[in-house]
Symmetry: C2
Subunit: 210 residues, 2 copies
Amino acid sequence: MKFAKIPMATIVRLSIYMRTLQELLEDDVDVISSERLAKQCGVNPAQIRKDLAYFGEFGVRGVGYRVNELVNQIKDILGLNRPWNLAMVGLGNLGSALIRHGNFIKHGYMFTAAFDIDPQKIGKRLPNGLIINHVDELEEIIKQREVHVGIITTPASEAQSVANQLVLAGINGILNFAPVQIQVPDCCHVENVDFTIKLDSIAYHLSFGS
Amino acid sequence: MKFAKIPMATIVRLSIYMRTLQELLEDDVDVISSERLAKQCGVNPAQIRKDLAYFGEFGVRGVGYRVNELVNQIKDILGLNRPWNLAMVGLGNLGSALIRHGNFIKHGYMFTAAFDIDPQKIGKRLPNGLIINHVDELEEIIKQREVHVGIITTPASEAQSVANQLVLAGINGILNFAPVQIQVPDCCHVENVDFTIKLDSIAYHLSFGS
DNA sequence: TGAATAATGTGAATAATATCACATTATTAG
DNA sequence: CTAATAATGTGATATTATTCACATTATTCA
Ligand SMILES: NC(=O)c1ccc[n+]([C@@H]2O[C@H](COP(=O)([O-])OP(=O)(O)OC[C@H]3O[C@@H](n4cnc5c(N)ncnc54)[C@H](O)[C@@H]3O)[C@@H](O)[C@H]2O)c1
Ligand SMILES: NC(=O)c1ccc[n+]([C@@H]2O[C@H](COP(=O)([O-])OP(=O)(O)OC[C@H]3O[C@@H](n4cnc5c(N)ncnc54)[C@H](O)[C@@H]3O)[C@@H](O)[C@H]2O)c1
């Protein structure tokens, strides 16, 4: 499916296109031009065509893109036409809010394990039926349940140690919400989410114009 | 403070440098080279020097950067040496978790207003002392309390309408957690946070290698 | 059928961004 | 004081990403 070296920005945009296309699908739109899609996504139409061109030809000249087909083709491109199993590590404020959230399931992500270190939390059952396990059992359970991606929502001070455990357990993808830069081997791909960095960008724009 | 057209990526990296520098400060490091900082931030050393060079000369040749000075200089660059007032709109799972979180205060962001539409929630007092107001009072309160940035944590279906209200109230910066692309006038700067897009990137990497 | 129209796919041009490489400046030690 | 060393700041270069512009292909309608 992958032919050349693909810009990371292209991958991110494909996700955005896909979400917009899924909304269009719900509104019973079945064909769309790169121009209209571009407007909705806030990008240049040629950008969309170029991004897709890395992976093949998906449109019909003179017509546009069939929405439902394109959604599936983007899913193929991104590897989303299969389930992905997630483990949440740290069931505090943020972890609990996330695991309760329906958007993950909707996009094919399934929480299959949850870990904490607080004795009060171990053994508790989450709204989705999952039971919180002690982080000592992390390696065993992650292998058993074939978890693919680990989500870190522990305090920052624990994030590196949790990351190490995840890597040891064979995890190759981590979504890190702790506000620290964690170090992992090359085989493991980390994405960071730090809201305050986004706020900093806003502050900069408000201070010094667009 | 701003001299040329600055890449957006530079602004984001400056935030990251700043956070790493703040950690170093806590560890009583008082001077650091671009090389060591680069390693900790996962970037190229020349990148750091170039990013800073857009705004002036902050280091000492042959020595490096004085950590505490550089933190302050980056704060000046980003417009962070002043308080920023935030309003949270939507006090559900996510909004409540966020407003309870200490990291915002730590970085100079202060919640000064909170809005919801659920009668059960209006009038409730949050852990930080803030009282939840009805979203009908949004414009008045935002002006009164000099809110600078609005945070949207309502369901996706409400996000555009909330954004419209924020813009009407004079807000020029929005942090949007709802998984939709909101449309605002050019005067308003929007940053989106969508965790599932990050998961998609991870899925892609796991499926098709680095 | 054929002309008019619409919209893709893509090579070429442009723009933006990152990296290299080294001249410059500060410090240390002999 | 001078040589050796360290690390910044920056012009030049390389790389990457975006946009343009148009040839190509599909559709519609006279
Ligand atoms: N809450 C937010 O809105 C928010 C926003 C931005 C970033 N963050 C970051 O997300 C992380 C979690 O935030 P929170 O507000 O949920 O904190 P929290 O204190 O409510 O939750 C942390 C949880 O991690 C558990 N934990 C601690 N050490 C652990 C370990 N070694 N293994 C497994 N579990 C462990 C704790 O028992 C607790 O349940 C923090 O790093 C925070 O900076 C949170
Ligand atoms: N919870 C998560 O972890 C998570 C993760 C990713 C994205 N999101 C997104 O964040 C948003 C909120 O998620 P949540 O889980 O907190 O949902 P939620 O349903 O728990 O909370 C939504 C809150 O918004 C309030 N609300 C509804 N309409 C409103 C309006 N017009 N004005 C003001 N308040 C209004 C509701 O009363 C409710 O309190 C959603 O868009 C969701 O997709 C949430």
